[in-house]
């Protein structure tokens, strides 16, 4: 594997007259030498500086996540200067009128002080929270990009898992942060977690007591979550981000098929200096967008919610968006799922959704290994798939997205009810049905759309575009002239892997193993409907044909490469 970059005029050409180095150059050289002699950093710079980044907008989503994380670290550090993670009771004496003289925890009072008394505190709080939302949203979009382009295939399966753990950790960071202000909203969120923990048989109640240091809400949880939020979770997160990036460098970046871009190279710009400059600029753009949002739009108006008190629950109480799917799962459970067994209540209304969500998460995390097993493909893949070229995978992704989206929507069932003038029960029933029907429909529709697009690609690769130019031939015949693609454009349409259902064959011992049978079933489901990429001979035949007739017939037999 090699990396190739457009040759940058970095080294002076020998034939030029040698000028004596200027003072600046001498200083730079001396300084670089000083550092290199003591750290041997030049090897790293040589390796890293020549890392190539291909140019595609979707390759920047992970960067967005990284930069939002930096913004979170910076703004979060500011907040730690003023936040006090104590649940001791105080009387509020700050400047927000509707809370004056109200008893509250020190944590809530200091959050209010950050908002109203500390100069720039409100902005920092809002930057921190908006950046957290963007962080997880960009991770989500980044994961979707990786999934739909098949960028999780060998050698990147491990990095997919690392990234997935990062996603889970980010949700943990988000949730612990959401709980810190100790306002009504965060307390309600904690209450739900408390309920979920207590729903587990045998260990639930004990775990809850352990977590909260006694009966909920206790006086410990904010301090404990604060330690997790600013110490443990960020440390793990940072370490894993490091691993994620090292693996990114080791594995190289994927790229889309393009002229000169093959499975054995990476075409793009090197980190030094172009990409680094661009990335640095992009960091400030992300920071700027977040700051703009934070200066104009309120997020989590803790002053409205008031101090936590276990009795009130506000209408419209929801978790932040990334926990929404879990909240939605709880809301979609039909009534009456608890039952009593030997005098103990078994809370299936909690256990079932938790199990479903756990399963969903594990399936997403292990999907790359499933696909690797299914295809039996041990090759390395550095060319990103166009989603349409692996219809079943794309359809599975669409089904997963639909499933997640329905759970997500369920978390706002009350707001859907009020804003679309629907009864909340009807919304819930609709979403319950959609949870099962939606993914199936999404799977079928997506797969058909992908295959349709592949057919069209094939048609265009073979016969070119309809140019709209009608020509009358000397014999009186009318034809529409098709405009052929150039080689480069055509390459994008034909360069993809073609997998086929596994043929069952006995192994060396003359037996057909169960594993093989399972794989045969799986590959049949996966690859039965497929459009084969255009082959060289098909292309030659089409062109020989086209030279004579200017691509007249649309109903060409060569389009029918779909099996079954």
């Amino acid at each position: 594997m090699t990396t190739t970059a457009p040759q940058a005029p970095a080294t002076p050409v020998q034939s030029e007259p040698q000028l004596p180095p200027t003072r600046g150059q001498r200083f730079t050289g001396a300084a670089a030498n000083y550092i290199d002699e003591r750290t041997s950093i030049s090897g790293l710079v040589k390796e890293l500086g020549r890392k190539i980044f291909p140019d595609h907008w979707s390759f920047m989503l992970g960067e967005v996540a990284l930069y939002s994380f930096v913004v979170i670290l910076l703004s979060g550090t500011f907040l730690t200067f003023f936040f006090q993670a104590s649940m001791a009771e105080v009387e509020y004496e700050g400047s927000y009128v509707p809370l004056k003289g109200i008893e509250m925890s020190v944590a809530y009072a200091s959050s209010l002080d950050i908002s109203f008394e500390v100069r720039g505190g409100m902005l920092m709080r809002q930057v921190h929270h908006w950046a957290a939302l963007l962080f997880i949203a960009s991770i989500g979009l980044h994961m979707l990009r990786v999934f739909f382009t098949g960028a999780f295939r060998k050698p990147r399966e491990i990095n997919w898992v690392v990234g997935f753990i990062l996603f889970i950790l980010a949700m943990g960071e988000g949730f612990t942060g959401y709980s810190l202000p100790d306002d009504l909203l965060s307390g309600n969120g904690l209450r739900i977690i408390d309920g979920m923990v207590k729903g587990f048989p045998v260990i639930g109640t004990w775990t809850s007591y352990l977590l909260f240091g006694g009966e909920f809400p206790g006086t410990d949880v904010v301090g404990r979550f604060y330690t997790l939020h600013i110490l443990l979770l960020p440390a793990i997160l940072l370490a894993l981000i490091g691993v994620h990036l090292v693996l990114l460098v080791v594995n190289k970046h994927t790229q889309f098929a393009a002229p000169g871009a093959t499975n054995d190279n990476v075409v793009g710009v090197p980190i030094m200096p172009v990409f680094a400059a661009k990335a640095g600029g992009f960091f400030f753009i992300v920071f700027g967008v977040l700051t703009l949002i934070a200066s104009f739009f309120t997020i989590n108006p803790i002053w409205n919610y008031g101090p936590y008190d276990p009795s009130p629950v506000s209408a419209g109480t929801q978790p932040d968006w990334y926990i929404g799917f879990a909240d939605g799962a709880l809301r979609l459970v039909p009534p009456g799922w608890e039952f009593v067994l030997f005098g103990y209540t078994v809370s299936m209304n909690i256990l079932a959704p938790v199990a479903v969500l756990g399963l969903f998460i594990v399936v997403v995390m292990l999907y790359p290994f499933f696909e690797a097993w299914l295809t039996g493909d041990k090759r390395e893949h550095h060319i990103a798939d166009r989603p349409r070229n692996n219809p079943t995978r794309t359809a599975i992704g669409a089904a997963g997205v639909t499933f997640y989206a329905v759970l997500w929507a369920a978390a706002s069932s009350d707001l859907i009810g009020t804003h679309f003038r629907l009864a909340i029960e009807h919304v819930i029933w609709g979403l319950q049905a959609l949870l099962f029907i939606g993914p199936v429909v999404a799977f079928i529709v997506t797969k058909r759309v992908c295959i349709g697009l592949q057919k069209r690609d094939r048609e265009i690769a073979l016969h070119g575009f309809e140019s709209g130019r009608i020509v009358r031939l000397p014999g009186g015949e009318y034809i529409e002239v098709h405009q052929q693609l150039d080689e480069y454009e055509r390459w994008k349409l034909v360069a993809y892997n073609d997998y086929q259902p596994l043929m069952l064959r006995p192994n060396k011992k003359g037996r057909i193993t169960l594993n093989q049978r399972a794989r045969a079933v799986a590959t049949r489901w996966f690859f039965e409907d497929r459009i084969a990429p255009v082959t060289q001979s098909e292309l030659a035949a089409a062109h020989a044909h086209g030279d004579h007739h200017g691509e007249l017939e649309g109903s060409n037999p060569s389009q029918g490469a779909i099996s079954h």
Partner: protein, 263 residues
């Protein structure tokens, strides 16, 4: 200054004391008479006029559902004893007359003039006593916002949301947003419990505390969110939608722009 001149040009004639006494007696007596039901001819006439007008309006607009004698029918509840406050709330916010049968009466443009609403209220109150229209002193919004906010969070926020943005109830019913609702209607709603709302009588939440709640709501209305646009005060759902659509949307637009090839 002589006594004679004072007596001549002074505004107080010797009969003044007597006249004042008479007026005073007449007023207190009249008021007493009014409150005990034997009003003076004039006030009775004015009041009776209102009640009569109210009755006509009631017969024309309300009796179909509520019955000719307020006794209620299959389509509408009895109004005996609901009081003037209830009528003023329901008719004064346009909820009544009902536009159509549904999960709950919808707010709509008010159908009657203030005088007509008053007449209807007087008429309904004249049939049987009930909660009165609240005194002006509780509606000024000059109470204690902090106390009001706390009572609001404990008693009202579970349906109306902490910031009064409203929320969903069961079977298509909902707790409306409280922004823009007049103080008198907020008070009357607490007093009479319209639609699905529970009654918060004076033993439950004292008139002073009702005034505090009104103060808090007025505070929210008059002071925009200190953090910027409030996105409807709908909580994390609005925030999540915002970051996905506008936040991530803007970022993706920028990435597309950054990687766009020049033509």
């Amino acid at each position: 200054m002589s006594k004679k001149r004072t007596a001549k040009t002074g505004r107080r004639s010797p009969l003044a004391t007597l006249a004042l006494l008479t007026v005073g007696l007449a007023t207190t007596g009249g008021a007493y008479a009014l409150f005990t039901g034997t009003a003076t001819a004039e006030t009775t006439a004015v009041h009776q006029q209102l009640v009569d007008d109210g009755e006509k309006l009631f017969v024309a607009n309300c009796a179909t559902c509520h019955g000719m004698d307020l006794e209620g029918t299959e389509t509408g509840p009895s109004l005996v004893g609901v009081g003037a406050a209830s009528v003023d709330f329901q008719v004064g916010t346009g909820r009544m007359p009902l536009q159509q049968q549904g999960p709950q009466a919808e707010e709509k443009p008010v159908q009657f003039t203030e005088e007509q609403v008053q007449a209807l209220a007087e008429y309904v109150a004249s049939i049987a006593p009930g909660p009165e229209i609240p005194e002006e002193e509780y509606l000024t919004g000059k109470g204690d916002a902090a106390v009001g906010a706390e009572i609001f969070r404990i008693n009202c926020a579970m349906c109306h949301n902490v910031a009064g943005a409203g929320g969903a109830l069961t079977e298509g019913k909902y707790a409306p947003a409280l922004t823009g609702t007049e103080a008198v209607h907020v008070y009357e709603a607490m007093l009479t419990g319209p639609q699905n709302m529970p009654v918060f009588n004076d033993a439950n939440i004292s008139p002073e505390d009702k005034a505090n709640i009104i103060t808090y709501l007025k505070y929210l209305e008059e002071n925009p969110s200190p953090g910027g646009f409030d996105l409807g005060n709908l909580g994390p759902v609005a925030e999540g939608l915002f970051i996905w659509i506008f936040g991530l949307g803007a970022i993706v637009a920028i990435t597309v722009w950054l990687t766009a090839k020049s033509n």
